[in-house]
Every structure is written in C-alpha cells, then in structure tokens.
C-alpha cells in the first residue's frame, strides 16, 4: 500500500494499492497552511482507505517544483512517516503526477482533442505549468507514456518569467497545461509504476530551482550621516531577506 504526499501547491495525501487502485484521497486547495492540515489529511486518507499506518509499504513524496515553505512540509512529513514505519521513501517529481493524470485521462477517453486539441496525445509535447510565485512559472515538458506506463519527461522542471512562458512553449512546440493541484493518487501511482519497473524517477532532494534569497550585508552603514533620521524615529536597517518563495 503506497501513501502519496504532496504539498508543492495545496496539500494532498492519497493511499493507492500497488496495482494502482486508488483507496483514498484527501486534500486541501489552500496554497498556504500546509503545516496546519498535513496531519489531519494523513489521518483522513488512512481512515478513508481503511488501512492502518502499518499497512503502508512505501511513501511517495512530491519533491516539487513548488513554493519552498509549503513544499518542505510534505517532504518532511513523507520522510518521518516512512521512518516511523521503517519503509522507503520514493521521491517523485510533482509535475509527473499531473502529466500522468492527463495522459491516463486521454487514454481512457481516447480523445484528448475536445479538451486540448490533440489528435494523438502520445505524439504531442505538452507542458505542465504551475505557479512558482515571484512572477514566475515552473514548467516541465512531457510527451506520452513509456513502456512502464510513466510519463516521458522531455525536459526537466524549470522556471520561467511569466511573460516569457508562451515564447518558451512555442519554441518547444508544447501545448500549455496549467495545474493548480497535484493529484496525490497519481503521485503514488507513478511511484508504484517506478517500483514495478525497478526505476527511480525523482530527485532525492527538494526541487527548489532557486538559490536561497538573501541580500549579502553591505559594509557597516555610516550611522553619523543617518543620525538625524535615527533621532526622528527611523531605524538603522538590518540585513534583510525577502519573504518566502
């Protein structure tokens, strides 16, 4: 039984059988508040799947890309849940779950055309696009499923300024597929298929795609020049970091 956890957009947890049968899904669309809901979602997913924690054999962790503060909550949770049960963590690129869902859906309906203009989705390149904040998108290019039933990543996850996305997609001849949620059941299914195929498919480290944001402190400020401002209530500035991504 595979437990899927992803907090790269909202918070999502699912329990999936090794053969892909979805036992439960519990999620919150809130793009913040991951730490608040993760425990309750885990409990709910287990209860709704009628499984005990000891029934979990693998934990699939969504490694991003995604806003860092939230992303870390799910990765930390996946690692300690697995540690608690003595089972392995399977890292999965979060966009893979979206791609898998799109491709399975198209295979089922055999007609992606009405939804996205595809004659044959296996031949089409598409981009899973998610909000990366800071006026950027995170996107990953996919084309079809491979023999193991896993989405084929044509290019690894990357960041792009929002205004530049369309040009990037034109250049890659990729259709745009926006996602505002990561389906945890698809994340767990991707993990199940990678297990069956004996492959690893995700980075073991969080996919931040951005260096930590910090302004290096400058040389000590000349306070005498600023003394009048100080007296009138101003404060000498400390080195500042911008808010969380």
């Amino acid at each position: 039984m595979i437990l899927g956890i992803d907090t790269s957009l909202g918070s999502a947890v699912a329990v999936v059988e090794p053969d892909g049968v979805i036992r439960s899904e519990a999620s919150s669309p809130d793009p913040r508040g991951h730490a608040e809901v993760i425990g309750t979602l885990l409990e709910r997913a287990l209860v709704e799947a009628s499984v005990k924690p000891s029934d979990i054999t693998h934990v699939a962790a969504g490694m991003g890309p995604g806003p860092f503060t939230g992303l870390r909550v799910g990765i930390a949770a996946a690692r300690t849940f697995a540690l608690g049960r003595g089972v392995p963590v399977i890292p999965v690129v979060s966009h893979d779950a979206v791609a898998l869902e799109l491709l399975l859906h198209s295979a089922l309906t055999a007609d992606w055309g009405s939804a996205g203009g595809y004659a044959n989705p296996d031949d089409e390149t598409f981009a899973v696009v998610t909000d990366a904040r800071r006026r950027e998108f995170a996107y990953t290019l996919y084309r079809g499923l491979d023999d193991d039933g896993l989405p084929v990543r044509v290019a690894e996850p990357a960041l792009v300024p929002r205004d530049d996305l369309e040009a990037a997609l034109v250049q890659a001849s990729a259709e745009r597929r926006d996602a505002d949620r990561i389906p945890a059941a698809m994340l767990a299914l991707a993990a199940a298929r990678s297990l069956a195929a004996g492959r690893s498919i995700g980075s073991v480290d969080a996919l931040y795609l951005r260096a930590p944001d910090v302004t290096l402190p400058h040389a000590p400020k000349r306070v005498n020049l600023a003394a009048s401002a100080e007296r009138s209530g101003g404060r000498a500035p400390a080195p500042r970091q911008r808010g969380d991504a």
């Binding site: 870390r72 949770a77 690692r79 402190p217």
Partner: protein, 355 residues
C-alpha cells in the same frame, strides 16, 4: 501511555539548530543537534530560507542519530513533541510537518509546545541541580530572543515580564562584531577581543534604563540604540584618523549588554520577592554574563541556576522535557490542528490541547 515516566522524542526547528531530544521522565537520553550556523556565517546572521533548507536535510539523520544514541526504538515512544513557536515560521513548519507525520505513522500522541518555556524546562534535565523551585524569574537570552519571565509553574503559569523591543542580545553581539570586522557568530569573537580590553573605557548607553523608561519598560530591553552608539563611536574615531581600540570597544559593549540584562533580571527578582533566577538561551555561554549574574545575585541573596550549556542553546531535549512534564501532570495531547506561530506568547505553554 506511561504517565509516570513517559518516553518522549522532541523536535525543535525554530531557528538554525535542528534539535532532536529523547527524554524518559526527567532523564536525558539524547540531545542531538545539527546546526546550520556555518552556512549563515557569510551573511552575518541567520538567513531563514537557508535555515529551513538545512532543517529538511538534517531532520531524518538527526532522529536516527538520537535513536541510536539512546538505544530507543520509535515504537517504544509514549509521545512525540514539537516546537510550535515562537521562531522563524518557515523553519518551524519543517519540524511541525515532520512531527505530525511521525505521530500519525507511529499512532502516538503529539504535543505542540512553546519554545521559550522549553528553555526553562531544560533545567529539569540537569542531574546535578536540586529540583526547580517556584516561583522563579527566568532570563532567556539568545540570538533570537531576550525575555524576562516569571515562572510560577512550568506547565501552567508562566508570565512575560519583559522582552526586547528590537534586536535580541545575541543579534546585537553579531552586529557589533561585524562593524568591528569580526566574524559571525559575534558572541565568542567579542569575548575574545574583550579579553584584552577595558570594560570601563567607553560609557556606552544602557537601553531602556532611564527613570523615565521605568513605568512602561521596566523589564524590557533595547539593544538597537547601543549598536548605533558603538557604530558612531567607531566612526568618529576613524574620521579623526585614530586607531580603533577593538578590545576596549568590545569589552565596553559587552559590559553594557551584561549590565542591563543582569540589572533588570535582579530588579524583577526584587520586585516580585523571588530569590531565584534561572538563566537560559545560547548567550548564557558568555562567561562574563554568567560571572556578573552570579556575583551580583549573590550580593542580593538570589540563587542562580544555569543548566549545562549544551541544554542552554536551542535543542530538542528541552522540548521533550517540557512535554514529559505536561504528560506527568496529566495533560491531554494536542490535536493535529495547529501551525507554526512565530510570535506564540509565553503564556501558551502547550498549543491546541485536545479536550
């Protein structure tokens, strides 16, 4: 759950130390700490995003190391404990996500507790000290906080008497070290420089210590003005083309910080008729602070308690120790519905207690 002598694993990620502690009742079994301090050195202060990334990477190996050291299996635990606040929100969230999933995975109760009260609880693990007596005044000084507390009971009644209005004392050490051209972290560097200096050389100001401050800020601290005064003094010296006596500046600065900390702590003891003072937080590692506190407290008939330094800096053992006390006093676990509270008031000793 064993309420007589609970076995608790505590997770602390409020600043730059990933702390995992394991405690059985009042006995310390492991105090495992992974610090990201070195990664912050080039920035001259803790960078929240750098700290949060480091927590994520350090958590699992630290838990494993603590289990190995204590010879405890996760399944033996009676409860999992975690810091809910105060602290850096993004850093706290890593510990909270980890603690919640661990508790659900193990089907064990979870306790979410207050970091500052944890600092007081660290004292309980000191095997050489007699039992903690109440009430006691507690002075907690670190790079993240500077607080003066009145503790009537560790698990039920902690009152905030005062705190810093701007920089924490440890932050002031870091900033003054930087303007003297000394590396991060500033505390030990200032100490080293001060060894060759005269602490009476320069009369730096004592923040919030004037008679006019006493009504509103009797127990509050301010170190921003002191830092500016040091900067101004150094600049004037440089402008005059004279060498800066780094030793004298360091010693005089340190004396101003220590003086105001000890003066206010002892005033709190006097005003509340409490002849006991507990020191905690990483800045307690500063020998001058300890020496002055001990000397002046003795003159006033106040007994000073200082936990071992490994328990004064941020750590998970204090979080486990506080939780152990909560369990022994019959408290119910927290629900799973709490988050990081970067400004959690000290009166909230436990967060989200279930009914």
């Amino acid at each position: 759950m064993n309420r007589a002598e609970p076995l608790v694993l505590g997770i602390e990620t409020s600043c730059d130390e990933t702390g995992i502690g394991i405690v059985r009742g009042r006995t310390l079994l492991s105090n495992t700490i992974a610090s990201s301090m070195d990664e912050h050195a080039r920035y001259g202060g803790v960078v929240p995003e750098v700290a949060a990334r480091a927590h994520l990477e350090a958590l699992q190996p630290s838990i494993e190391a603590a289990l190995t050291e204590s010879g405890v299996a996760l399944t033996d635990l009676d409860a999992v404990a975690v810091t809910s606040g105060p602290g850096l929100a993004g850093a706290l969230m890593v510990g909270i996500g980890a603690a919640k999933a661990l508790a659900v995975s193990l089907e064990k109760p979870l306790y979410a507790v207050n970091h500052l009260v944890g600092h007081i609880a660290a004292d309980i693990l000191d095997t050489d000290a007699p039992p903690l007596e109440y009430p006691t005044v507690a002075l907690l000084v670190s790079g993240g906080h500077t607080s003066l507390l009145l503790v009537r009971d560790l698990t039920t009644d902690v009152e905030l008497l005062g705190e810093t209005m701007d920089d924490a004392a440890g932050e002031a050490f870091d900033k003054v070290a930087r303007l003297l051209g000394l590396p991060y972290p500033g505390g030990p560097e200032i100490d080293r420089a001060a060894a060759s200096g005269d602490q009476k050389a320069i009369p730096f100001p004592r923040g919030l210590s004037r008679a006019s401050d006493m009504a509103a800020h009797r127990y509050d601290f301010s170190f921003s003005g002191l830092k500016t005064a040091v900067a101004r003094w150094v600049e004037l010296r440089e402008a005059a083309g004279e060498p800066v006596p780094v030793g004298d500046v360091a010693a005089s600065f340190r004396e101003a910080v220590v003086d105001v900390l000890v003066t206010k702590a002892l005033a709190a003891c006097r005003d509340h008729g409490v002849p006991r003072l507990l020191l905690g937080g990483g800045v307690i590692a500063n020998r001058r602070l300890r020496d002055v506190a001990l000397e002046r407290a003795e003159a006033e008939g106040v007994t000073v308690r200082i936990p071992p330094l490994s328990l004064c800096t941020d750590n998970g053992a204090m979080i486990a120790a506080l939780t152990s006390e909560l369990i022994m006093s019959g408290r119910a676990p927290s629900t799973l519905e709490f988050g990081a509270d970067s400004t959690l008031p000290v009166t909230e000793i436990q967060v989200a207690e279930s009914r």
